[in-house]
């Protein structure tokens, strides 16, 4: 139990620092490609253990979002998107429940439920997160084409980073 909390805490710190210090400054300076925002911090919410209380997920999502906002100079924007991500997590988990169901003691990882299941899970949540993030950032749907372009480009790039992380560390819990 203590081990589980410690692991999640360390993951929180590690992915957060990776996001705000390294990925924040990573920009491809070409037309169109410069729309890419590499966003991997939702992975922290994705990998929280199965039996976590939903309201705790929300609070963690809020804290994470506010911390990211501090570095991105965007008060509230990342927080709003991350809270939503945390809120839809249990619904997405329900929706894509594998045939054998989940074991309460597990965490939703590649190691536990296979890579196909995990990619579906991560893809749904990341797509929602990015779309909401860029929509709130623009604060209007006038730029819907731009928002969609940004979402798709950033989704592909971020997904690559998330999968590299998962294959590299292959967390069990």
């Amino acid at each position: 139990m203590g081990n589980l909390i410690l692991r999640n805490f360390l993951r929180f710190v590690f992915i957060f620092l990776l996001q705000v210090l390294v990925l924040f400054n990573l920009v491809l300076d070409y037309p169109v490609l410069n729309k890419i925002n590499i966003i991997i911090y939702p992975l922290i919410i994705l990998l929280l253990p199965m039996r976590i209380v939903n309201s705790l997920t929300l609070v963690l999502g809020f804290i994470l979002g506010v911390l990211v906002d501090m570095f991105y100079n965007t008060p509230g924007i990342h927080a709003a998107a991350t809270v939503l991500t945390a809120y839809i997590r249990p619904y997405v988990l329900n929706w894509i429940e594998p045939r054998g169901g989940y074991s309460v003691e597990s965490s939703p990882t590649m190691n536990q439920y296979g890579s196909r299941w995990f990619i579906t899970y991560a893809a749904i949540i990341l797509l929602v997160h990015l779309f909401v993030l860029f929509s709130i950032q623009a604060f209007t749907f006038v730029y819907i084409a731009d928002i969609l372009l940004k979402t798709v480009m950033s989704f592909i790039a971020s997904m690559v980073f998330i999968l590299v992380y998962m294959y590299l560390f292959n967390p069990r819990e």
């Binding site: 400054n25 809020f62 501090m70 570095f71 008060p75 509230g76 924007i77 709003a80 809270v83 939503l84």
Partner: protein
């Protein structure tokens, strides 16, 4: 009472969700309405410190670029000094020059955080109110314009980059003095658009664009970039000029904050008129 507990057990998460989202949107809207004191930003002590530590750690890899830019800057300064070096023997001791009084001074700062692909980009620098950096001051580097100071803490400042949807900087064509507003349309970190220049102005590709000096933020005549292509705003009598910026925003290391000694006077005049 029992019903109340049941209600919270069923909808507690959703209620918490709504409350947290409301807090988020209050933050977003407050910030957009130009709230002066927002504590959640990169000039705050902890995030500034963390960014600076990371920047220090990776500075080694950027050193060659930094050395080049400093060398270029030194060369420029040396060129300006040539009278001083040749005519040193003619220097008088107490000349109080009443015609050319110092108007601008510069504070050098190191960039510790930077972005170019957001809608509004910000740069964090490691000089703050302790070094007399105040919101509203211009920031330049050896190549051109960088941005305007937005917020300061004691040791750090957040600079609104030129690459921001809110940027409007008064800029002029060097050759003939026509001036307009420089804006950014969030497409590329290399280009900005110069608008509001009337169509009867004679503009050719490659014209130098400089600061107009009509505000106290930037000194007059700082090089911004060159006209890359000439377009027209549809249905209006103004040009839409694409300007290639001389500042490389992807590679900012050292910048100068512009301190204008006449700013209080200019501001009080402007305020008197508004009132």
């Amino acid at each position: 009472m029992h019903n109340l507990f049941q209600f919270f057990a069923r909808f507690g998460t959703t209620i918490l969700f709504i409350i947290l989202e409301i807090i988020c949107f209050v933050l977003i809207v407050q910030y957009n309405s130009g709230q002066k004191e927002v504590f959640l930003n990169s000039s705050s002590f902890y995030s500034g410190l963390l960014m600076e530590k990371y920047s220090d750690a990776t500075r080694f890899y950027r050193l060659s670029g930094v050395a080049d830019s400093i060398a270029k800057d030194n060369a420029r300064l040396r060129a300006e000094l040539r009278f001083a070096t040749i005519d040193a023997s003619f220097r008088h001791d107490t000349v109080i020059d009443t015609i050319y009084r110092q108007r601008y001074s510069f504070i050098s700062a190191q960039v510790v955080g930077n972005s170019v692909n957001q809608i509004d980009n910000y740069i964090t620098i490691n000089k703050g109110s302790a070094m007399k950096v105040k919101p509203g001051m211009g920031v330049i580097n050896d190549a051109g314009l960088v941005g305007i100071v937005r917020q300061t803490s004691a040791n750090y400042a957040t600079v609104a980059s030129m690459l921001s949807s809110q940027t409007r900087i008064s800029a002029a064509i060097k050759r003939n003095g026509f001036f307009g507003s420089l804006v950014w349309n969030s497409n590329s970190s290399e280009y900005m658009h110069l608008t509001d220049i009337p169509k009867h102005a004679d503009i050719v590709k490659g014209d130098s664009v400089i600061t107009s000096g009509y505000s106290s933020t930037f000194p007059k005549g700082i090089f911004i970039g060159r006209v890359e292509s000439i377009g027209y705003e549809s249905g209006s009598s103004f040009y839409d000029l694409k300007v290639k910026l001389s500042t490389d925003f992807n590679n900012l290391s050292y910048v100068y904050v512009v301190l204008d000694k006449t700013k209080p006077q200019l501001d009080s005049l402007a305020n008197a008129i508004i009132r």
